[in-house]
């Protein structure tokens, strides 16, 4: 075996993985461009078009980041849940790649949701953090998916890591509806839902609702872009490690 082959192989694998999504090259780049443009429009809508809140003032604009980011993190964990089931049934590595990518992106988003919440809570509630149901269950959600990533990193055998992670991803998803319903089930300082089955009609003015939905759409696109890119990279990593494995076998094999 020629060891100098390896860098070229690495490069071509990672390049190849980019093109593998839906078969057309540059797909991820186009999606990134679209997301970036729409994010600029989103910023304009949030800061220039959305009205200032009567009670909370300018700080309420963080709402147009906080809520979409939280919703997208729930969606990410739903993807982990579905892909985990898919992996346990089919044992195909594609499912596991999607689950892993969604968990990583989901952890980024739930972290941002917690941070924007902390920044918003300080001027409005008067404290950075308080141990109330919505905040506590969300922190637990964060811990569950951080544990998910740690588990993946610590189990040396990739097959086993995938099975354990699928189990954590499926069971851990239980916390997502608990987070959503926490403000309904228990006394809380957190405002009740403005999106989904618990939303009150009239909680938002039409213009605020429109900006919120646009922002949700943009963050959804950002999530899709990150998910596809990370999944493709993950598949590339898998192919690379299987090639390395084959190469090592080739070297150690007597024939």
């Amino acid at each position: 075996m020629n060891p100098s082959l390896e860098p070229a192989t690495t490069k071509s694998i990672l390049a190849g993985s980019r093109k593998s999504w839906f078969g057309f090259p540059g797909w991820a780049g186009g999606l990134l461009l679209l997301t970036a443009l729409l994010m600029l429009v989103n910023l304009y809508l949030i800061f220039m078009v959305a009205p200032t809140d009567a009670v909370l003032g300018q700080v309420q604009r963080i709402f147009y980041f906080h809520v979409p980011i939280a919703i997208v993190s729930f969606l990410a964990f739903f993807v982990v849940f579905v892909a985990g089931i898919g992996y346990l049934i089919t044992r195909r590595r594609r499912w596991d790649s999607v689950a892993h990518a969604a968990a990583e992106v989901g952890v980024v988003f739930i972290t941002l949701a917690l941070l924007t919440g902390v920044i918003w809570a300080r001027p409005v509630w008067g404290v950075w953090w308080t141990w109330e149901p919505r905040l506590t269950t969300t922190l637990i959600l964060w811990l569950i998916y951080v544990a998910y990533l740690m588990l993946r990193a610590y189990v040396p055998d990739r097959n086993r890591a995938a099975v354990y992670a699928a189990a954590v991803g499926i069971i851990g998803f239980v916390d997502v509806p608990i987070v959503y319903y926490s403000v309904q089930w228990w006394r809380s300082i957190h405002p009740s839902a403005v999106v989904g089955p618990l939303a009150n009609a009239g909680a938002l003015e039409p213009i605020m609702q429109a900006v919120l939905f646009f922002s949700c759409g943009v963050f959804l696109l950002l999530f899709l872009y990150l998910l596809l890119e990370r999944t493709a990279l993950r598949n590339g990593e898998d192919r690379l490690s299987s090639l390395r494995f084959a190469q090592r076998r080739g070297v150690t094999d007597p024939d």
Binding site: T52, Q60, R93, P123, P156, I171, I189
Partner: protein, 186 residues
């Protein structure tokens, strides 16, 4: 090999797989066992979280009437009480930082409406040293006090939290100016 059958598109193991069939079957059983343990631990953790946060075991706050109706809450333990600022009840001691005010149940304050100088029903007299939060005097705010009841019958507040309505509306629709100042409600 058994592992390959389980895993037609499986990953290459980092450690070379054991060649004996029995070892593979053994590790499979251990995997399943660990998986079950992991699942049970996680399920218990989530279950405990639900149990611990369930009403009756841990409430985030008490209402004013619950607090005034329960002698066990008034023994000086630290807890949270929620209500609305009683109209015209806020007063400062001279130019100092010590302030006194009364909280009433949210429903009472809401039903009494705008002209309610008198609110019938239980009220909690509270003291606080420091600067009031921005939205403390806003008539829409619910106020959550963290502190304990003193022997003199005053709730000594350590922290004030303000809960805002889950409703957002634009500034143009509401009268601003002194909206968040003590004088607004009168």
């Amino acid at each position: 090999m058994a592992e390959d059958k389980l895993n037609p598109a499986g990953f290459p193991p980092i450690v070379e797989p054991p060649t004996e069939e029995s070892a593979a079957a053994d590790s499979g059983r251990r995997t399943r066992f660990r998986l079950i343990i992991l699942g049970v631990v996680l399920a218990l953790a989530v279950g405990y979280m639900i149990y611990a946060a369930f009403p009756g075991n841990a409430l985030y706050f008490l209402t004013v009437s619950e607090f005034m109706g329960g002698a066990e809450y008034q023994d000086g333990r630290v807890l949270r009480v929620s209500g609305k600022l009683a109209p015209d009840s806020f007063q400062r001691e001279g130019d100092g930082t010590l302030a006194y005010f009364r909280l009433v149940d949210k429903e009472l304050a809401d039903n009494a409406g705008a002209d309610a100088a008198v609110v019938a029903g239980p009220s909690l007299r509270a003291s606080y040293v420091g600067v009031m939060p921005d939205l403390f005097f806003n008539p829409h705010s619910e106020i959550i006090l963290e502190g304990s009841y003193s022997a003199e019958g005053v709730f000594q507040t350590d922290n004030i939290l303000v809960k805002c309505p889950s409703k957002y509306q634009s500034l143009e629709d509401e009268p601003p100016a002194d909206y968040n100042s003590p004088g607004y409600s009168s």
